[in-house]
C-alpha cells in the first residue's frame, strides 16, 4: 500500500490495481495538465492538476464504495475508473476540448481506445478487468457509472472543494464527507438518503456560484478563446495532428505555439498575460437566436466579417458563445417522505438554477485593448445585437462602478 499526501484529503491510500495504474505514463501525464486550464491567469494559485484531482476522485470513490458496502471486483472497477476518468483530457483541459472534438470526434470521457493498449490496458487486463468495462463506467454507464459520472458523482465533489482550496474562492467548500456518507442505492439508482435535501442543494449551489466567479470568469473565457484560436491555427500551420494534440501536455502545447511563427504572438499574449479585452458582453435577450445557435464555421465567418468591418486582422477578433443553459444539472435524486424524488421537484433553489444559468449567460466578443471600440461597434452590426451601443467598454465611464460585468469579475482582471 502506498500513502500519498494530498492538500485536500490529506492521506490517500492507494493499493492494488489503482496503485499500478498510477505508474502508467498516461496517468502520470495528468501531472502536467492544469485542472482549470488558463484560470490561473485570474486566480494565480490555481495551478492544481488533473493528477491530484484524479487521486481525490479515487479517494472519494473509495469512501463512497465503503459506505455503500460495495466490495470485491465491482468496487475495484469503480476505483480504476476513478483513477482513469480524466486520462482523455487534452492540454489545458476543457479549454482545448472543443478543438480536439471538432477534429477527432472525441470528448475527454470517450476513452475506450485510450484504455485499450499501452501500460493502462496491460495493468487492467493483468487484474482481470476488460478495459472497455472501465471506459463504460467513465462514460457514466451502468449503475455504478453514476458514481463516477452522474448528477451526484465524486468527480464534482472533488473538483469543487479542490478548486476552492486552490483559487481561494470559498463557494466550492461543500460537505463532501457527508455527501459520500449519504449516498445510497435504491432500486439500482444512486440517491441521497432522507434528510439530505440541503446536502444535495449545497452541491448544485456551490457550482452555480463557482461558475461565474471561476469557471466562466470573463478573463478565463478570453484566455480560453485565445488558446482555442491559437490551437486551430497550430493545426493548420504546423505538422501537429489532432491526435498528437490530444496527447500533448500543457508544456508541449505552449512550446509548440511559441515555436510556430503563425501562433507565436498568441503564445506571447498568454505568457505575458497581455490578453484581449471585452468588446461586447451581451445578455441572452439582446442576442439573436441565430447567433446563439451558430455552429463553429458560422462563428468563424462572423469573426471575419467583424474584423473586416472594424478594419482589423481576423486574428484580432474572437466571438465566443456559451452553450444554452442545459437541463441535466438538477436530476439528482433524494429520498423524501419515503419516496425517491428528483431534486428539482423538491427544491425551489434547484428549480431556480435554470433561470440562473440563463441570467449568467453572456455573448463575448474580444479584441486587443486598442481595438475594442471598433470591434464592439462592428460586432453589434454584424451580429445584429440589440445592445443599443451599450458595449462593455462604453458604459464603464470614469467614476461609475463597472457595469455590464455583474457576474463575478473580481480578482486580477
Amino acid at each position: 500500500m502506498k500513502t500519498i499526501k494530498d492538500s485536500v484529503h490529506d492521506h490517500i491510500e492507494v493499493e492494488g490495481v489503482a496503485r499500478e495504474l498510477l505508474d502508467a505514463p498516461a496517468v502520470q501525464r495528468l501531472r502536467r495538465i492544469k485542472q482549470l486550464g488558463p484560470a490561473h491567469l485570474v486566480y494565480p494559485s490555481a495551478n492544481h492538476t488533473r493528477f491530484e484531482h484524479s487521486l481525490g476522485v479515487y479517494y472519494l470513490a473509495c469512501e463512497a464504495l465503503d459506505h455503500l458496502g460495495i466490495q470485491g471486483k465491482r468496487a475495484e472497477r469503480v476505483r480504476a475508473a476513478a483513477i482513469l476518468h480524466d486520462v482523455g483530457h487534452c492540454p489545458y483541459s476543457h479549454a482545448i476540448e472543443e478543438v480536439v472534438h471538432r477534429h477527432t470526434g472525441k470528448y475527454h470521457d470517450d476513452v475506450h481506445e485510450l484504455l485499450a493498449d499501452n501500460k493502462v490496458g496491460e495493468v487492467l487486463r493483468d487484474h482481470g478487468h476488460a478495459p472497455d468495462a472501465i471506459a463504460d463506467l467513465i462514460a457514466g454507464e451502468g449503475r455504478l457509472g453514476q458514481l463516477v459520472a452522474g448528477e451526484l458523482d465524486v468527480d464534482r465533489m472533488d473538483y469543487l472543494v479542490r478548486d476552492a482550496h486552490h483559487t481561494g474562492v470559498p463557494y466550492g467548500t461543500i460537505d463532501h464527507a457527508r455527501l459520500v456518507r449519504e449516498l445510497t442505492l435504491v432500486d439500482d439508482e444512486l440517491v441521497l438518503a432522507a434528510g439530505n435535501v440541503p446536502t444535495a442543494e449545497s452541491l448544485l449551489l456551490a457550482r452555480a456560484l463557482m461558475n461565474p466567479t471561476v469557471y466562466n470568469h470573463h478573463v478565463t473565457r478570453i484566455a480560453r478563446g485565445i488558446l482555442q484560436q491559437a490551437t486551430e491555427r497550430l493545426l493548420e500551420a504546423s505538422d501537429v495532428t489532432p491526435e498528437r494534440l490530444r496527447r500533448m501536455d500543457d508544456a508541449d502545447l505552449l512550446v509548440a505555439l511559441r515555436e510556430t511563427p503563425e501562433t507565436a504572438e498568441f503564445a506571447r499574449r498568454l505568457s505575458d498575460r497581455d490578453l484581449y479585452k471585452r468588446a461586447v458582453w451581451a445578455e441572452m435577450g439582446d442576442v439573436p437566436e441565430a447567433v446563439i445557435d451558430a455552429d463553429h464555421a458560422t462563428l468563424r465567418e462572423f469573426e471575419a466579417d467583424v474584423a473586416a468591418d472594424a478594419g482589423v486582422d481576423p486574428s484580432e477578433v474572437i466571438v465566443e458563445v456559451m452553450a444554452r443553459p442545459g437541463m441535466t444539472e438538477s436530476e439528482s435524486r433524494v429520498v423524501v417522505n419515503g419516496e425517491i424524488r428528483r431534486l428539482e421537484e423538491q427544491s425551489a433553489l434547484v428549480a431556480a438554477l435554470q433561470h440562473v444559468q440563463r441570467a449568467q449567460w453572456r455573448l463575448g466578443v474580444y479584441a486587443p485593448r486598442e481595438a475594442t471600440d471598433a470591434v464592439g461597434h462592428a460586432a453589434e452590426r454584424v451580429l445584429g445585437l440589440e445592445t443599443d451601443g451599450a458595449l462593455v467598454n462604453e458604459v464603464r465611464t470614469p467614476g461609475t462602478p463597472t457595469t455590464l460585468d455583474e457576474f463575478g469579475s473580481p480578482p486580477d482582471n
Copy 2:
C-alpha cells in the same frame, strides 16, 4: 492598541473607545453567552460565544469602514455599535429571547436603556458619544445602521463563517473579505458594487443552507423548547424576575434551573442530553392556519389539551411553531448595469428563497421518548393536523431510512 487573537479573523486590533468598551462588565458578560444557545447539543464543538462574535463584527466593521473611506467620529460610532450590538442578548441567546420579550417587551437589539448607564454609558460619554445614538445604530437606524443591522450587515457575515468554523458545517463559509470590500454607498444607501450578484447570493444561500442544518436542526429546536418551557416556569416558581433573567449569563440560568425544584428535571434533561423526541413534525400544508398563527397563550392551551388527551403531565408536551416565512431577507441591493436593483429582482436564486423557507417550515410537537406515540396522536386530534397519522415516529420503521426528516438532521441526533 491591543491585539487579540481570534480563531476566525486571526489578529484583531482594538483601540480607542472600542478597547475601553471591551473591559466593561456588560461586554465581558458576553464571554459567558453561547452564540448558538443549545446547538452544541447537536454540534459538540459549537461552544463559541457572543464575545468572540462581537469582536469579529467589530473587525469586519473596521474593514468595511476602511473600504468605504469613512473615518473620524462617524466611524468610531459604528465601531462602538459593532462591539456593543449583542449586549442585549439574554442567556442562551435566541433561545430565551422570546421569553424575555414576552415579559419585558424587549428584543436583544433594543438596548437604549442598557447603554445609558454603568460602565458602557460612561465610556461612550467620555468619548463624546451619546449612548442613544449608538443604540439607534444597533437597531439598524440611519445610513450606517445598515452596516450593523441590515440586509448586508457585518453581523451576518461574521456569524456565518464563525458558526461554520465551530460547527464544522461548511455551508457558512462565505467570502466575507470580498463582501466588505464591495460594499459601497450610493445615494446614502449601502449597496454592493457592480459584479457582485454572486457575492450577494452567496450570503443568502449560505444562510438558507445553515438554517435547516444548524439553526433550526430539530434537536436544537427541541432543546430550545425545553429551555423556554423551563424558563417560563422559573419565572413563575422562583424570585427570578424577567429583568434579572435578561442580564443572567448561561451559567446563572443553568444553575437557577437546577436549584429550583419546579425546573430541576428540565435542567437534568438538558445537562444529560436526555431530550424530548419529536411526536409530530408536520409540513405547513398539513397544519391549520389558526395553529400557524396562534399566539403564546393559545399554544400553551394546546399543550395542556394535548397533554390531557394523551394522559401525560402538561410539562411533557411542547408545541412549537416557527414564524411564517418572512419577506425581509432578500432586499439587499446591488449595482447591475449601472442602476441599483433589489437582489431578489435580479437573482432567480434569491427569489426562490421564500419558497425554500416555506418548504423548510415545520410544526414540532415534542415529548419524552416513551410518550411520543400518545402525544403524537393527541396532537393530531387537538391541533387538527392533516398528517393522516404520518407522525414522525410512526414512519420511521426499522430498515427504512428516516423519512419525515428531510431537512438536515445529521449529526448526533
Copy 3:
C-alpha cells in the same frame, strides 16, 4: 451507528459501547468543562470542551487501532478508555486539579471509583468489560495504555490540533493523521516506524511552542491562581465538599463562587476580567531553591508574609511556582536504522527541550494592579529573590518594549 460532526476531525462515527457511554451523565458533563480552563480570558475563542476533545481522542484511537490491526474486545476497551479518559476532570480542568488533589488525593486520571458505579459502570459491565481494566488503561497501564496515556498518546495529538483550531495559534497544528498511521508495536512497545524522527519531533516541539504561548501564558496563570485561591476559600467558607467540587461543572463552580460572600469578589474579577497583574516574574536563576521546591502550605505562608510586608490583604497576593522541568517528555521511541531508540537520544531538538522548559520557567507573584509595586518589593524581600529590583512592572517604562515578558504574552493581555 451514530455520526457526530466535529470541527477538527469532521465526521466521527460512534458505535457499540462507546456510543452508549456517550449518553452517560458523567460523559455529558464534560460538555460543561472547558478544555483550557480560563485560557479563554487570553484567547477569546478557546471555549472548546472536554467533551469534544474526548470524541477526538476516541476518533484518533480508532484510527490508530485500525492501523495497528488491533480488533475485538481489546480494541473496544481502548475505545472505551478514550471516551472516558477525562471523566475525572474537575471544573476548569487543570486549573482546579491541584486543589482537588490536595483534598481528595485524586488526580484526573485516577478514575477507578468513578467508573465503578452509575451509568458508566453499568454500560461497561453490560458489554463485558471490568471497569477497573478501563481505569487501568486510562492511567496508562499495560501495553495499550500507552496509546491512551503515554509519550505518543492520542490524547496529546488531539489536544494540540484542537487547541490550535480554537485559539487560532497555529503551533499545535501537527500531522496527527501521519502520527496515528506510523505507530507500530515492536516487542510490546508502542513506537513510531522508521522514517519518523521529524514526525515525533513535531509533536514535542508543538507542545514546547504551545506551552508559553497558550498553556502557561501569564494571564492564564494569573486567572488560574485566582481560581485556585477562590476555590480553596470556597471549601473553607461554604458547605461545598472536595468530593462535590470534583463533580461540579464550570457553571456550578462559577455560581458557587458568586453566591458565597467570601469568594464573590474573586468571581467578579474573573467574570469582569479584572485580573491581578504581575508583581514579580522571575527566572529560575533568580529564585532560591527553597522557594522553587516549597510546598502548598509554605507558599500560603509566603503569601501572608508578603501581604503583611506590603500592607495589603492576604487575599490580594498570589505566589505561584511552576513545577521543576520534568524528564518524562521525550521518551517516545522511534525505529532508526532497524533498532528502537529513545527520541531524545536521536534528536538534538528533543534533547534541547529540557533546557527550554528551564528557560520558560517563571515564578509569578500577582496582585491587584494598584498594589503590584508594593507587593513586588515585599515579595523580593520575603522570598529572597535576586532580581535586583527588576520586577516586571518597573522595567516596563514607557518607550521601551515590554521586557521581563519574553515568553509569549501576545493577545489580549
Copy 4:
C-alpha cells in the same frame, strides 16, 4: 488598485509601482516556474509557482512596513523588491540554480543586470527608482534589505505557509501574521520585539521540520539530481546557452530535454516518474571528509568511477552531496530583558538546530532500480564509505520497516 485573490493570504491589493511591475513579462514568467521544482513528484499538490509566492512576499512586506511605520519612497522600494525578489530564478527554481551558477556565476538573487533593462527597468525608472537600489535590497543589503532577505525575512514566512498549504504537510504553518506585527527596528537592526522568543523559534523549527519532509525528501533530491544531470548534458549537446537556460520557464526546459536526443531519456524518466532509486544513503559520520567537500568536477569523476566499477553507463549514476550544515540560520535577533540578543544564545531549541542539520545530512547515490545493488557496492568502494555494506536497499528486507530512511520519506515514494 487591483485586488488579487490568493489561496494563502486571501485578498492582496496591489497598486503603484508594484502593480505595473506585475505586468512585466519577467514577472509574469514566474507563473511558469514551480516554487518547489520537482517536489510535486512527492507531494502531488505542490504545483504552486514563484508568481503567487512573489505576491505573498509582497503582501507580507506591505504588512510589515505598515507595522514598522515605514512609508513613502523607502517603503515603495521594499515593495518593488518583494515583487521582484525571485525574477532571477531559473526553471525548476533551486533544482537548476547550481547548474546555472556554475556556468554564469549568478545565483537567483543576483539580479542587477536583470532589473536594468526591459520592462522592469523601465517601470522602476518611471517611478524614480534606480534598478540597482532594488537589486541591492534583493541581495539583502541595507537596513531594509533584511526584511526581503535576512534571518527574519518575509520571503521565508511566505514560503513556509504556502508550501504547507500546497503540500498538505502542516509543519510550515507558522504565525506569520504575528511575526510581521512583532518586527521592530532597534538601532537600525531588524529584531523581534520582546515576548517573541517562541515566535522566532517557531520560524526556524518550522523550517527544520520541512527540510527532511519536503525540501530534502529523498525523492525530491533524486529528481533534482536527474534534472541537474540532464541539464548539464543539454548545455553540452544542444545550442541552449547558460544565459538562455536561466531565462527559460519550466515548459521550455522540459520540452528542450524531450527534443534533445541526449537528454530525452531523462525527460521520459521525469515525466513518467520512473526515477532512480537510492543505492547509498549515508550519514555524515560514514563519509570521508574529502567526499563531503568534493567540488563538482570531482563528484562527476566519482560518478564515472562508480559507473565503471559497477559496469553501468555513467549517466546511470548520480552522486549527490548536501552542503555542510551552515551557521547562518539562527542569527535572528530578539529583544529579551530589554536588550537585543541573538536567538541562538537565548533559545536552546535554536542552538540545537545545527546538530539537527548534521543529523539530517545524507550522502545520496542514485541509480536505476535494477542497478542499485551494483552501484551501491561500487560507490562504497570508490567513495570509501564506512557503511559496512549497509546500503539503503540491502537493509530494507521484507517484513521489517524501512530503515536507513529515518528522515521523512513519507508519501508517494
